[in-house]
């Protein structure tokens, strides 16, 4: 079942185009990732999906509703943690949960929710006195307080230390396992690869590829890479080999990039010349390599 359908979504701020022709399809019960560098248009896209921003054009259906026309009705069925938002400085954790919980929706009792997200110790603490991680836990709890069918997380783990990040990933999986659909916006390749059932790679306001992480990595766009030490390497000769696209040398260290069964070809050619480096290594491409291959740019840039 399709939960979100987007086609030809477009949005600019003045003459700055933020989203230029985004198309997506998110299915019920999955963790769907929007992966791309800063400024790619991810936040604008999910804000349009929640009806928090107006779109310039394009078709958008979320839970069967148009987020612009039926925004309030839609937002009562979804949960959201926004990339940049805050609560009043002196609002306390318990008061925030009480304020955001809709009565009579059969949601979990607040203290139960507080326990689940480790907030009971912070119940009387004002928002301004919470650490980054504690604020994030509160925002997750607020996103889930009304048992939404669909949850948006935007840069959920940015600014968290590695341990808190891992704990947060477990929380996100829990949300999915409880039956909700999750849209996860991130610029961390590792997060998308570990957590998402399917990923859309976004760059400069467009979706450049969609699929499961392993599909994307296995598509073959992502360059294969082998590295080894060869003093006085014959780089020109290496570049002539079939499937090789690029050879870089730094002192004695050689890196060969290309497509197809690259490792086998390079190894065979080296053996044929009597070169047998002890540290011959092949690198498995990850989503970062996929991004580089698709856009010619580095995800971290």
């Amino acid at each position: 079942m399709t939960v979100i359908e987007v086609a030809g979504l477009h949005r600019s701020y003045g003459d700055q185009v933020a989203v230029e022709d985004v198309g997506l399809e998110v299915r019920a019960g999955e963790i769907f990732g929007l992966l791309g560098p800063n400024g790619a248009g991810k936040t604008t896209t999910v804000e349009c999906l929640q009806g928090l921003r107006r779109r310039d054009r394009g078709q958008v259906r979320v839970l069967g509703l148009d987020p612009e026309r039926d925004g309030d009705r839609l937002r009562r069925r979804i949960g959201a943690q926004l990339q940049s938002s805050a609560l009043p400085d002196r609002l306390r954790v318990g008061e925030a949960l009480w304020l955001f919980a809709r009565d009579g929706d059969g949601g979990a009792p607040l203290d139960q929710l507080g326990r689940r997200w480790g907030l009971e110790r912070l119940w009387r603490r004002p928002f301004a006195k919470l650490s980054g991680g504690e604020q994030q836990r509160l925002f997750i709890a607020l996103a889930l307080v009304n048992r939404p069918e669909l949850v948006f997380f935007d840069e959920l783990t940015t600014g968290l230390d590695p341990q808190a990040r891992r704990a947060t990933w477990d929380l996100v999986r829990q949300v999915r396992d409880d039956g909700a659909t999750v849209v996860l916006v991130t610029h961390f390749m590792e997060e998308a690869e570990l957590l998402c059932d399917r990923v859309a790679i976004v760059d400069q306001g467009r979706v450049v590829a969609t699929g499961t992480p392993s599909e994307l990595i296995g598509r073959g766009d992502a360059g294969q890479r082998v590295s080894f030490t060869w003093p006085g390497a014959d780089a020109a000769w290496l570049s002539q080999l079939e499937g090789v696209e690029r050879v870089t040398r730094r002192a004695d260290a050689v890196e060969v990039m290309g497509t197809g069964p690259l490792a086998v070809r390079v190894a065979a050619a080296l053996a044929g010349r009597g070169v047998a480096p002890a540290d011959f290594r092949t690198h498995h491409p990850d989503l970062e390599d996929v991004f580089l291959a698709l856009t010619g740019r580095d995800l971290r840039a």
Binding site: L52, L82, A86, L99, R102
Partner: protein, 243 residues
């Protein structure tokens, strides 16, 4: 939702009362000083009424203007700037109950402030009873709605709480001293009278004073305020489509 939001705003207001206290105390202290210096006798410069009958309605409007032009814009612009409004809207809490809660709290504050002013005038400065409590109450409510709407519109136009504070204070002082809070209209220079006539506060003061003294409806004052109310609300609705 409105009840929850209003209760929350009251609690937050009590925890951080600075702006509200300013909006309450400033007109009250000035009123006290003025009444002390002008005495209690009816005066032709005050249209033949006592200084208290002139200044208490004017300063009730003054506290409404201070709350609407300073307290609300500062508070709401901070909400907008920091993403509180977006945070609420994303959770299905629309902007209008948030704004309505602010207006209710503002109404509560100015009612308390005005009650103190009336008590002060009544106790020692020969304040008369209003000729028409209905006109006075209606004028008070309309002025509150109008200035709160202007405050919300300001907050929707200004990007930061700091900008809202500067603009709100400037607007308030520019209006306050020439629209009834300073010298009586009779002794203001003509140019200043013209400027005052272009600002909404003088109309709110007129409605309240006429209702207090004679019980008449000041139709011009009502119409001007209603027009400002509608215009400010339209601006706010337009600007708050995205928060």
């Amino acid at each position: 939702m409105l009840a929850k939001l209003t209760w929350t705003e009251i609690k937050l207001g009590l925890r951080e009362p600075t702006v509200a206290v300013f909006a309450l105390a400033f007109p009250l202290i000035l009123l006290y000083l003025l009444l002390n210096s002008f005495g209690t006798l009816p005066d032709p410069d005050f249209g033949g009424v006592s200084p208290a009958d002139w200044y208490v309605p004017a300063y009730a409007i003054g506290s409404i203007a201070a709350t609407g032009l300073i307290a609300i814009p500062v508070h709401l612009a901070a909400y907008r700037e920091r993403g509180v409004l977006r945070r609420l809207r994303a959770s299905g809490i629309a902007a209008w109950p948030v704004l309505a809660a602010q207006t209710l709290v503002a109404a509560l504050i100015v009612t308390v402030g005005s009650a103190v002013m009336v008590a002060l005038g009544d106790a020692s400065y020969e304040l008369s009873t209003p000729a028409s409590p209905v006109v006075v109450a209606a004028g008070f409510l309309l002025a509150t709605a109008t200035f709160c709407a202007v405050g919300v519109a300001l907050a929707s136009l200004l990007p930061t709480a700091r900008a809202a504070q500067v603009v709100g204070l400037l607007l308030f002082f520019a209006m306050f001293f020439i629209s009834g809070g300073g010298p009586p209209e009779a002794i203001l220079p003509d140019g200043v009278k013209t400027v005052a006539g272009a600002l909404p506060m003088a109309y709110s003061v007129d409605v309240l004073q006429r209702g207090w003294w004679t019980g008449d409806w000041d139709v011009t004052g009502l119409v001007v305020q209603a027009a400002v109310l509608v215009a400010a609300t339209a601006v706010a609705i337009w600007r708050l489509r995205e928060v």
